[in-house]
Structure formats: C-alpha cells, structure tokens
C-alpha cells in the first residue's frame, strides 16, 4: 500500500541517495575504473530483493504461475550479477591492490 507519506519518503530517499552517490566518487585512479564499475554493478543486483518478494507474493496469489516464474528468472539473473560481480571484482583487486600492498 502506497500512501502520500510513503511516496514522499521514498522520493526523499531517492534524491538524497543520488546526491550522496555523486559525492562518494571523486578522484579515482584509472587502474580502479574497471573494479569500481564492476563492484557498483554487483550492488545494482540489489533488485534480487524485489525478485524475492515478487516470487513469494506471486506464489500466494494463486493463479499466477507465469508471474512467479518471471520472478524466479529475476532471482537467478540478479544472483548471477551479485555473486559473479563481487567475485570478479575481488579477482581484479587481488591482482592490482593486493600486489601493491605486498610490494
């Protein structure tokens, strides 16, 4: 249920998070461009939360097999994005930053 109050609260969150996102990244050395992109990309897999809720709600509605399946596919894709994204970022960083620290 979306009310005026909850919508305004969400819009406020949206705006503040965008401002925060702009401020968060300032100067990034070229070496880190790809890992940062890849790490941020993994975070955008947060839609897995929506997919989980969707899968459950669709299931409880009764005659909503297709919606449930769509949400299931969404869970799989989002998890590939999340797990693969963080793992690949970790691999890259181990090669760049890890070596640097030991050197």
């Amino acid at each position: 249920m979306i009310t005026e109050a909850s919508l305004i609260a969400n819009l406020t969150l949206f705006m503040l998070a965008i401002f925060l996102g702009f401020e968060l990244i300032t100067k990034v050395p070229a070496t880190l461009h790809t890992p940062l992109m890849s790490g941020a990309n993994a975070i955008s897999g947060i839609s897995v939360v929506g997919a989980l809720l969707g899968a459950n709600v669709a299931y409880q509605g009764g005659e909503t097999l297709v919606s449930g399946l769509l949400a299931f596919v969404a869970i799989v894709l989002a998890m590939i994005n999340v797990v693969g994204g963080f793992a690949v970022t970790n691999r890259m960083l181990n090669m760049i930053a890890g070596k640097k620290r030991r050197a």
């Binding site: 839609s47 809720l53 963080f86 760049i96």
Partner: protein, 474 residues
C-alpha cells in the same frame, strides 16, 4: 518485531555506502568490495526473514533454487573467465542486473493480467506502481540489450554456427532524433497504461521499444569508447533497480539503486575525461571504427630478435608500452623477464607506459603486469611518462596499436583527439605485432613505417621468448 525489519535494510544501505567509498582508493578497494558483498548478504537475509514473518507460508523451493542456481552460475563465470575476457563479463553481468529489475516490474504487472480476480490497486498506489514499473521496464530492458551488444562489440564479433560475424558499427545522425522520439513514445505509453493497467499491447510495446532503444544507443559507438558505454549502462541498471524499489515500496532498492546510478554516472564522466572526450561526443557522434578499415598500401621489412637484442644492449633507458596484444598472447611473464634481463645485464632503466584504455578496459594492463610481479611503481600512467619519451633510447611496443598511433594528433579520423602514448618520440621504436594490420579503430599507423621503427612480426609470447634468449646470449 516486523516493524524493526527495515533496520536490516538500513545496515545494508550503510554497507553499500562505505563499500563504494572504499572502492575508489587503491589501498582500501578490496575491503570496499567485501563491504558491498556483506551489504548484499544482509539485504537478502533481511528480505527472507521479512517474508517469513509477514506471511508464514513461503515458496521456499522456488526461492532457494533461484538463489542457489544464480550464485553457482555467477561464481563459475567469475572463476573461469580469462583476464582478457573481463570487460565482456562485466558488460554481461550488467545486462543481467538490468534484466532482473525489468523482470520484477513485469512480474508485478503480469500477476494482474494473469489472475483477473486479483484486486487492482487503486488511486495513488496504482499510479505509482504503473509509472515506476514502466520506467523500470524502459531502463531495465534498454540496459539488457545495450549491455549484450556492448559485450559483443568488446569481443569484436559473434560466432553463429561456426561463422564469425563482425559486430557492426552504424549510426547516421538522423538516428539521434529517432532515439528521442522512441523515448517519448515510451513515456506516452506509460501515461496511457495508468488508465488501462492490464492492457497487454501497451506492455509489449514498452518492452519492445525499450529493447530497440538499447540497441540503437550502443550501435553507433565503437572502439575505444566501449568502456565508457559499459559504465553508463552500469549507471542505468542502478536507476532501474531504484525504480523497481518504488513499485514494491522498498527503501533498500531505492537507496542502493540510486547510489549506483549516481556514482556510475560520475565514474562515466571521469573515464571520459581520462580519454579527453565528452559524454555527448561519445554517445551521439559515431566514433572509433566506421567499419571501413584503411587500405594497407605500404610494406615494412621486419627485423629479427638478434638485431633488437644488440640494439637494446646500448640503451640507457627503455620504456615498455603494452597493449591488447600482450593480453591476448598472455606474455606478461616474458615481458617481465625482458625487463629484468635489461636491468641485470645492461643496467638499463626500465619503465612501463600505461595508456588509460590500453587493452579493452581501464586497468587491464595493470592487472596483467601485476600478475607477473612487475612492481607497481614501474607502471607509469600516460600523462606522467609522456615527457620522458624524448630522452628514452628504446620504446618497446608490445601488441599496442591505436594507443600509440600518431594519427590521433592530426585531429581527423576515428582516433582524432584521443590522447596517445608518445612512443614515436623515442630514439628507436621496437614494435612486436603479428602483422601491419590496423587496430581496433581501423586506422593505419604511420609509426610502423618510420625509419627508426623496427618491427618484430609474430605472436607476442614467441617473440618475447626469442628476444629474451637473444639477450641472454650476448
């Protein structure tokens, strides 16, 4: 108890914020990545607990199966990928993220079409859900098709039934107003959907147009600009997640999604700046390989390893310029051995010049050379190393082409304006390359034909090994 569930989402959002912040600095980046992963774990656990408390009954099989299958596929892909294939993989993952958001939006809408007995929401809820689902579909499907095309562009082509098709680059200027019109028509369809939320025609039209938009957005962009496009698509997939958050009224999706959207956009600008380009130029001016490659009319006599070995013998300062060819032939260890040999045997000063977009993504060369244990301090970024070339005796270019092509200075052609490594200013240039063929941008390289240039034709690994043996014999 249920009222406190959002605290889990708050913790998760805080972890994402710290994670992104730390990812921007070399020393803290691995920690930042771990924070991000922890944030995701907290978010998933919170959601599962929330669903359990709220409903009691759960569709466990479906949910666990989805989580496990996705995790396994993702982990396998991340572990198996070669370092050369990293940029393609990031693009592919990004497309999946966008698709996931769009599918959640579709699932939310489809359940009312599928089961007419479900009561449609009314009033404000309906309006917000329809608008957010429409926007999420627009951005999400666009991200999917755009990312897939970007992936194939990074690969250079696609193999269908054993035949290799080169990814085309095509974008006449009239395509730009078409993009605007298509976007506006999606907005119109979304507004129309508010009055008729279960209209399937509108739904499929929105999905179809969004998919098409993703393709025609990326189609005109080629060559060296692809990392910038992937970064922009990454920003878009964050925005899609944020819109999905509005549909299901969930704060963590809104916060995490818009964080990624905004920081991804900033990163896109930073990457543009590193390449001396502006974002509108990248997006709306077809660049980097019009598909027509320059005709090769000139020839050059190749040298052999012994000649090059004798020549580097007298050098005081050698700068190594690695490129995509080094990544393909996986010869970073031989390159490192070459550098060590020079230092130990002749006391030569050896440095590495790293172009910001050498290879197929920023940082590609750093990753490979770090793997071969080249000390970090020897990898010098382009702007710092360029003034050193005039006093450098030998520049050794290994599988790089566009990033040291003097044609970029001319202000004409696909490479115009791209900053390059000034390898041509060195007293002698040694280029290791399989042939005289053009690089990714499709421009012939004058540097190959200069008198002071020695070409070693062959695979990077074989040539470096030969060169190292020749040096050992001196």
């Amino acid at each position: 108890m249920e009222e406190w569930i959002p605290l889990g989402y708050l913790l998760s959002a805080a972890l994402f914020i710290f994670g992104l912040k730390k990812l921007g600095h070399p020393r803290t980046a691995p920690r930042g990545n771990q924070y991000g992963a922890m944030g995701m774990l907290v978010a998933v656990i919170t959601t599962v607990v929330d669903m359990q408390l709220a409903s009691g009954t759960m569709n466990w099989e479906l949910i666990i199966a989805g989580l496990v299958i996705g995790s396994i596929i993702g982990a396998i892909m991340a572990i198996k990928v070669e370092m050369t294939g990293m940029p393609e993989l990031v693009a592919l993952f990004n497309g999946f993220g966008g698709a996931a958001s769009a599918l959640v939006a579709l699932s939310e809408t489809w359940k009312y079409i599928e089961d007419p007995t479900l009561a449609l929401p009314t009033g404000l809820t309906l309006q917000v859900v329809v608008v957010a689902a429409g926007l999420s579909a627009l951005v999400g499907w666009m991200t999917l098709t755009g990312s897939l095309l970007a992936m194939f562009k990074l690969k250079g082509g696609v193999e269908i039934f054993g035949k290799w098709f080169k990814t085309p680059t095509w974008g006449p200027t009239w395509l730009n107003p078409v993009k605007v019109l298509l976007t506006l028509s999606v907005f119109a369809l979304i507004v129309m959907s508010i009055d008729d939320p279960t209209n399937e025609t509108y739904l499929w039209a929105i999905i179809g147009i969004s998919c098409l938009l993703g393709i025609i957005l990326v189609l005109p962009i080629g060559g060296a600009d692809m990392p910038v496009v992937v970064s922009l698509l990454n920003s878009l997939s964050g925005i899609a997640a944020a819109f999905t958050g509005f549909i299901i009224n969930n704060p963590v999706l809104i916060v995490a999604g818009s964080l990624v959207g905004a920081s991804g956009l900033i990163l896109t600008f930073i990457m543009c700046k590193a390449m001396n380009r502006t974002l509108p130029d990248v997006l709306f001016k077809s660049f980097g390989g019009s598909g027509e490659k320059a005709e090769l009319t000139r020839t050059k006599v190749g040298s052999d390893a012994d000649e090059v070995a004798m020549m580097v013998d007298g050098a005081q300062k050698v700068i190594i310029v690695p490129g995509y060819g080094m990544a393909v032939s996986q010869c970073q260890h031989q390159v490192k051995e070459f550098g060590d040999l020079l230092e130990e045997k002749f006391g030569t000063e050896v440095k590495y010049a790293i172009h910001p977009v050498a290879g197929r993504m920023p940082g590609h060369m750093n990753v490979l050379l770090a793997e071969a244990n080249v000390p970090y301090e020897k990898l010098i970024e382009m702007d710092e190393i360029n003034p050193e070339f005039p006093e450098c005796d030998v520049a050794v270019v290994i599988g790089a082409n566009d990033t040291c092509n003097p044609a970029a200075r001319s202000g004409e052609g696909p490479l115009a304006g791209m900053p390059i490594i000034d390898a041509d200013q060195a007293r002698t240039v040694v280029i290791i390359k399989r042939s005289l063929s053009v690089g990714y941008a499709g421009v012939d390289n004058d540097l190959f034909y200069e008198d002071k240039t020695m070409m070693l034709f062959g695979d990077g690994k074989a040539m470096m090994t030969g060169l190292n043996n020749a040096i050992k014999e001196i």
